[in-house]
Structures are given as structure tokens and as C-alpha cells.
């Protein structure tokens, strides 16, 4: 083994400069070179008890793959990751590693943790660039599983089951597979050709993906069972946008973050009029909310040419749900933060277009039910922010279509599907669910973990029958 690199900081990630990247849709982070990867991999202590692995929802054998990287065995490193993680190029980019693997890294105690996410990304990108071969066919076991939704949880569940010999059919409502990876996360954070390559990889293993099939409308969950699927996994995500329910929300120029990002990402609206789906953006834009989706929306608005883009959030930066890296990138790109600012009304002009956002300033009071300090309005602090576009990014809930059309499926009052936490099985026999449709909007990796857990449970149950 090579000598350890005892640098306390990570090898920095090469990035496009903020002033350049906030005008294009190319990826912000450029990725490690081979030399950088080897140097950073040398920081891993290869701890026997591997706390990092315990922090990973899909149990990637982290020290094992990093030690391969340290030795320059890049393809082996990739093969080690994919034993446990079907979508490494994606996870390496969008996982909140600081709360997971890297959050547990021993090197993080005195300095920065090992850049596990960057190294995972490097291994996946290396493989994509250098290896094109198809994987070996697996002996079929004669059992069929239907997967509803082709986002992170569905793709993971499908990928795991096909490896075990199941016939897996994925049904996707939109015209393109990927779920939030395709419609939600912007190109500059997660390039779409890379998402397509990861999906093709899963298809090459034998998973069939049918787009344009809206489960709940085109076919119901019960009909899938009647058609002979031995199990169904529901990974339909949290696609229903939340609104503020304040006056003026139906004015022209108010978008849900879902609509805004779908127009730009899935429909490629950033290339309009080269592509025919338009997206209209004002000179001044307010994005309401401070999660990752809000940061994506704000940074996208800036790239579309908005002069001033504001993040308007009723709590303080401490409570902002976005990853630290996203907040940092947004700030670098010139996004203006308006924390402790609560919108109370959207003002329109005589044509019905948005003209401004009425805001009441807040101060933090006692903690509320979520454990975060409750924002309390400051009397007489109202002011109007002149904007022409308002993007509402305050969270999404599960789409009601499946629960309305699946009798006997138990759900929470807010819409989440209720599952057995060990098996991900729902109140209906052999119907499983996982990802945002169970938890409400969360992260890609948690959804993948759920898909993986469900696949294991499905396999365990069906292999007995």
C-alpha cells in the first residue's frame, strides 16, 4: 500500500468559475483527473470498522473501492461500487455526502473527510468513458415484477431484481425515463446524457422501460397484478407541487418549481426557440423556499438571463434545508438571499402579470413542531420586492393518482404510502413502495436505499413461492 496522504483538506474539485458558469448550462463541477483521484484516495485510512459504509443508505464498500483507486485500478473500483450501487455517476454528484458517508469519515474529525462523493463520481465517469461492453446475461427465474416510476427508487429496485433473474418492467408516466433525475435536477448539476447512460446501462441488463404509461390511469396497480406480475414496486415519487395559498398565486409569471424546472430540464426550454417549449423569465425573480429545489430554480433562473434572483425564505440560513454546497454555489453565482422574509401576497399589474412580492420580515421565536425556531412576523416591516417572476419551491407531496385508484392501499393523511419499514411492503400483499412516495420529498440516495431494500424483500418472498 502506498504511503498515506495526511493532508487535512480534500483535493479541491475543479469547477467552472462562478461568473462564467452562471451564464451557461454546462456542468459546474468538472471532476477529478486520474492524478487527483489517486492523491485523494490516498487520504483514506481504510478503517477496519468502516464508519463511512454505515452512513451509506446503499452500503457501498467505500474503503474497498477507494483502495483500488489509490492503486490506479479505476475499473476495478467501479466494479466494486456497482456491487451495491446501480447509479454511481448520479450519487457521486447529488448525494448529500456530508450527512452520510463523509459525515462519518474518521478523517473528518481533524480536518476534511475523504472526498468519497468525488471519488465515486470519478470511478463512474472513468468507467463510462472507457468501457462500453454489455454485462453478462443472467439466468431468468420466470417471475415478473412491475415497477411504477423510473426515478431513483424504481431504477434501483429494477436493477437489483434483474440481476437476480426477474423479468422487470418499469412503467413511466412521462415520455422520458429518470423521474426527478430527468425533469428536476438541472443539467449543470447532473448532465442528462449521463442520466441517459446510467438508464441505458440498466436497460442493457434486461430491464424494460415503457414510457407514456400513467399507472392509475393507463393501467391500475390491481390490473398489473391481474396481468401476472408477481409483485409491484411503487416508486412514483413526490410530484405534486405545493403552493403558498397567498393572494395572487395564479397571476401570470408564478411557477411551481416543478413546472419551471420541467420546462427547462425535461423539455429543454433553455434552448428555446431551438426547442419549442418556452420558459418565460422576468428581469427580477423571487424563488420562495431554501431547499435544494429552490437553489436549482434560482441558479437556473440566473442562467436564463435574470438580472436579480432572490431566495426568499421565512426562516434563517441555519434552518435552510439545502445542502451547504448548494447554498455556497448559489451565493457564488450571485443569487441574493433574503432570509427571515415571508411572502404574504403576490402583486399583479392591470394585465394580470406579476409585478411584485409583498414580504413581511420575520424574527426567530421559540422552536416549533419541527424543532426549528419558529419565524415570527415583525410588525410594520412589510415591503414590496419588485419582481416579474415568482417560483414557488416549498416542497412537493406524492401525486394522489395511485392512492385514489388503488383500493386497500393505506396512506398517511398527507398522502404518503404506508409501508412496513423492514420490507417496504404496503398494506396490500405483494405491493411494495419506496422513495419520495413513502417519505415525502427527500434525497436521491434515500430513495435508492428504499428501492434496494424492497428488491431484497421481494426476492426473499418470491423465491419462497
Amino acid at each position: 500500500m502506498a504511503k498515506k496522504n495526511m493532508q487535512v483538506t480534500k483535493v479541491p474539485m475543479p469547477e467552472q468559475a462562478p461568473e462564467i458558469r452562471n451564464k451557461n448550462f454546462d456542468e459546474v463541477a468538472l471532476g477529478y483527473t486520474q492524478e487527483m483521484a489517486i492523491v485523494e484516495a490516498g487520504r483514506c485510512l481504510n478503517c477496519k470498522n468502516s464508519p463511512c459504509v454505515k452512513g451509506c443508505p446503499v452500503n457501498v464498500p467505500i474503503p474497498a473501492f477507494i483502495s483500488k483507486l489509490a492503486q490506479g485500478e479505476f475499473e476495478d473500483a467501479y466494479q466494486t461500487i456497482v456491487l451495491e450501487n446501480a447509479l454511481p455517476a448520479i450519487c457521486g454528484r447529488v448525494c448529500p455526502q456530508e450527512n452520510q458517508c463523509e459525515g462519518k469519515c474518521v478523517r473528518g474529525i481533524k480536518g476534511e473527510p475523504v472526498a468519497i462523493g468525488r471519488l465515486e463520481r470519478f470511478a463512474a465517469d472513468y468507467h463510462m468513458k472507457h468501457h462500453k461492453g454489455a454485462s453478462d446475461p443472467v439466468q431468468k427465474n420466470g417471475k415478473k415484477v412491475a415497477v411504477v416510476g423510473s426515478g431513483p427508487s424504481g431504477l434501483t429496485c429494477a436493477g437489483e431484481l434483474v440481476k437476480k433473474g426477474y423479468d422487470v418492467s418499469v412503467f413511466e408516466a412521462l415520455h422520458k425515463a429518470g423521474g426527478v433525475l430527468s425533469y428536476g435536477i438541472p443539467e449543470f448539476r447532473l448532465p442528462k446524457d449521463l442520466v441517459a447512460a446510467e438508464i441505458k446501462n440498466i436497460e442493457d441488463q434486461g430491464v424494460s422501460i415503457d414510457t407514456n404509461i400513467i399507472v392509475g390511469r393507463s393501467i391500475t396497480v390491481d390490473e398489473l397484478t391481474e396481468e401476472g406480475y408477481d409483485a409491484v414496486f411503487i416508486g412514483s415519487g413526490a410530484g405534486l407541487p405545493g403552493f403558498l395559498h397567498i393572494p395572487g398565486e395564479n397571476l401570470l409569471g408564478v411557477y411551481s418549481a416543478n413546472e419551471f424546472l420541467t420546462r427547462v430540464n425535461l423539455m429543454k426550454g433553455f434552448q428555446f426557440p431551438k426547442t419549442p417549449t418556452p420558459v418565460k423569465i422576468g428581469e427580477n425573480v423571487a424563488v420562495v423556499g431554501a431547499g435544494n429545489v429552490a437553489m436549482d430554480s434560482a441558479r437556473t433562473a440566473k442562467r436564463l438571463g435574470a438580472k436579480n434572483v432572490y431566495i426568499v425564505y421565512r426562516r434563517s440560513i441555519e434552518e435552510a434545508p439545502a445542502r451547504a454546497e448548494e447554498l455556497h454555489h448559489a451565493e457564488e453565482e450571485g443569487i441574493i438571499f433574503k432570509f427571515l422574509n415571508n411572502p404574504s401576497e403576490i402583486i399583479g399589474d392591470d394585465k394580470g402579470d406579476v409585478a411584485g412580492l409583498k414580504i413581511v420580515k420575520q424574527q426567530l421565536g421559540e422552536p416549533d413542531a419541527s424543532g426549528r425556531r419558529r419565524p415570527v412576523p415583525i410588525k410594520g416591516s412589510d415591503y414590496e420586492l419588485a419582481v416579474q417572476t415568482v417560483i414557488i419551491a416549498i416542497g412537493q407531496k406524492p401525486n394522489p393518482l395511485i392512492r385514489r385508484t388503488t383500493p386497500g392501499l393505506s396512506c398517511e393523511s398527507w398522502g404518503g404510502i404506508i409501508v412496513d419499514e423492514d420490507t417496504m411492503e404496503t398494506s396490500k400483499k405483494n405491493i411494495y413502495a419506496g422513495g419520495d412516495t413513502v417519505t415525502g420529498a427527500a434525497t436521491v440516495i434515500l430513495a435508492m436505499g428504499a428501492g434496494k431494500k424492497a428488491a431484497a424483500a421481494i426476492d426473499q418472498k418470491l423465491s419462497l413461492s
Binding site: 408516466a173 412521462l174 415520455h175 425533469y183 414510457t211 407514456n212 404509461i213 400513467i214 390511469r217 393507463s218 393501467i219 410530484g239 405534486l240 407541487p241 403552493f243 395559498h245 398565486e249 395564479n250 401570470l252 409569471g253 411557477y255 411551481s256 416543478n258 413546472e259 420541467t262 420546462r263 423539455m267 429543454k268 428555446f272 426557440p273 431551438k274 426547442t275 419549442p276 417549449t277 418556452p278 418565460k280 394585465k351 394580470g352 401525486n399 394522489p400 393518482l401
Partner: protein
């Protein structure tokens, strides 16, 4: 890819396409719509289902050539394919047998979504009349098809080239004064539906309308199709597209419909 089995030109701006889409055909009901993309990178266009054949696995749509994407669609021939055809979307219209009669009011291509609704009512044994409007004779759609099951087919044209000269609302006002109806179903331009309600509301005749706002996905994901019904925001794609006409805020619908007018123009120029 979804194959065009049949294409018919109904007039110089309106086409009928019958498209092979078994997943849509086997489940769709009157009142529902589909989402279509002509080609890769194409726009998602919502179109209400005009008819369907469960055995053949086909769905009929009728559309007006209004912009870039519908022009592109109109260039497709029989035997060609469209890239995507997803559905059915939206809630089926509530169509139950009525005691007296139902009157349908269609303006322009609104005749297409109205057709399966009245057909289903007639098949259930409800008597139906229809008023079809268009700017001139060529723009009066499906009159023969409606005549197959309607008691009376009234026609109104702006120029008087067919039927009564004037608006469908003139005919409607006369007709509801003459006969007893249980319900009116009006589908057409927003201004027509608004004016229908101006007549039926004072007369106490329950009126359903079908809204076709701007939307992206059609499954409840974008919220672009927000409409105000009785002061409450609804998504036309999942809560509709049919709503109680008395409760619809038509003025807001009209404003929202025009949001991308400039871009539509730019798109046609930019893309030739």
C-alpha cells in the same frame, strides 16, 4: 412510436387523426385527454379524446392548427408515427342518465371533445340535442356524426353560411326557453363557454364546461394548469378538465391562456 392509422382533413385548419395507442384506448372515457409529442424534443400537446375503439386499440383526436407544434403535426401522413402519445389523463366526465334532455354546445374544435360525451349519454338512453357553432360552414364540425344520435342538431355560423347567422348562445337562449333540459355541456373557446354560462346560470340550467389551459405534464406535476373554481385553486389536468361552469373564473383562465403568446410567435419565426 405511435402510428397514425387514419388522417382526415376536416377543414383548412382542422385535422382528424386516428392513432394506434392500445394503452390509452382500452381505458379512456369521454372527457379525458391525451398528451402528444410530434417528435423528439417536441412540445407536449394536450388534446381531448374525440373517440376511441377499444377493439382496434385506436384513439381519435381532432385538433386545430394554431401554432408551431400543431403545424408540425399536420404535416404527418397516414402511416407516419408520432413520438409520444400518453394517457388517458384527466377525470372522466360524469355522465348519468337524465330525466329530460341534455343540450350540448360546441364551438369550433370543441365539437371533438363534446362528441363522445353526448354519444355516451345517448347510449345510456338520455335524449340529447346539440348546437354546433363555427365562423362559417366549413368550420362546423361533426354535424353528421352528432346527427346519428342527437334528437336535434342546431347550427350557428358567424356569416350565416350554414344554419342560423349568429352565435351558438343565441340558439341556446331560444332553445332553453322552448324545451326542458336537465343539463348543458358547453365546450369551445373560453369566451363562448363564459357566454353560455351567462345564459344558463340565470336560467338555473346546470352547465359543465371543459377547460384546456396551458400545461406541461398533464399528470398533476407542474401545476401550470391552475384554474380557480368557486374561489379555490384546482389543477385542470387531474381535477378536471370538466368543471361546473357556474364556478369557473373564466377571466383568469383567459389571461393565463395568453401567457406564452409572444413566445409562440417567436417559435414560429425562429424555427421557420
Amino acid at each position: 412510436m405511435y402510428k397514425i392509422i387514419k388522417k382526415e382533413k376536416l377543414n383548412d385548419t382542422v385535422d382528424l387523426l386516428e392513432i394506434k395507442a392500445p394503452f390509452v384506448a382500452r381505458k379512456c372515457e369521454p372527457g379525458q385527454f391525451i398528451m402528444l409529442r410530434v417528435d423528439e424534443d417536441g412540445e407536449r400537446i394536450p388534446l381531448t379524446i374525440a373517440d376511441y375503439d377499444r377493439d382496434q386499440g385506436t384513439v381519435t383526436i381532432i385538433y386545430q392548427i394554431v401554432g408551431y407544434s400543431t403545424t408540425l403535426l399536420s404535416q404527418k401522413k397516414e402511416g407516419d408515427c408520432v413520438q409520444d402519445f400518453a394517457g388517458p389523463m384527466g377525470s372522466p366526465a360524469e355522465l348519468t342518465k337524465k330525466e329530460h334532455k341534455v343540450i350540448g354546445v360546441a364551438g369550433g374544435v370543441g365539437a371533438a371533445p363534446l362528441y363522445p360525451q353526448l354519444k355516451k349519454l345517448a347510449a345510456q338512453g338520455t335524449k340529447v340535442d346539440v348546437i354546433i357553432g363555427g365562423k362559417s360552414a366549413a368550420y362546423v364540425l361533426l354535424a353528421d356524426a352528432f346527427a346519428q344520435f342527437c334528437d336535434q342538431v342546431f347550427i350557428a355560423t358567424d356569416d350565416g353560411s350554414l344554419g342560423t347567422k349568429g352565435f351558438v348562445t343565441n340558439v341556446l337562449a331560444d332553445q332553453i326557453a322552448k324545451e326542458t333540459y336537465d343539463e348543458c355541456i358547453a365546450i369551445g373557446p373560453l369566451i363562448m363557454m363564459k357566454n353560455v354560462v351567462k345564459i344558463t346560470k340565470p336560467a338555473g340550467l346546470p352547465t359543465m364546461v371543459s377547460l384546456n389551459p396551458i400545461m406541461v405534464d398533464g399528470t398533476g406535476m407542474c401545476g401550470g394548469c391552475r384554474v380557480t373554481i368557486d374561489g379555490e385553486t384546482k389543477f385542470a389536468c387531474v381535477d378536471g378538465p370538466d368543471f361546473d361552469g357556474f364556478k369557473v373564473n373564466f377571466d383568469e383562465c383567459m389571461k393565463r391562456q395568453g401567457f406564452y403568446r409572444e413566445e409562440e410567435h417567436q417559435c414560429r419565426i425562429g424555427r421557420g
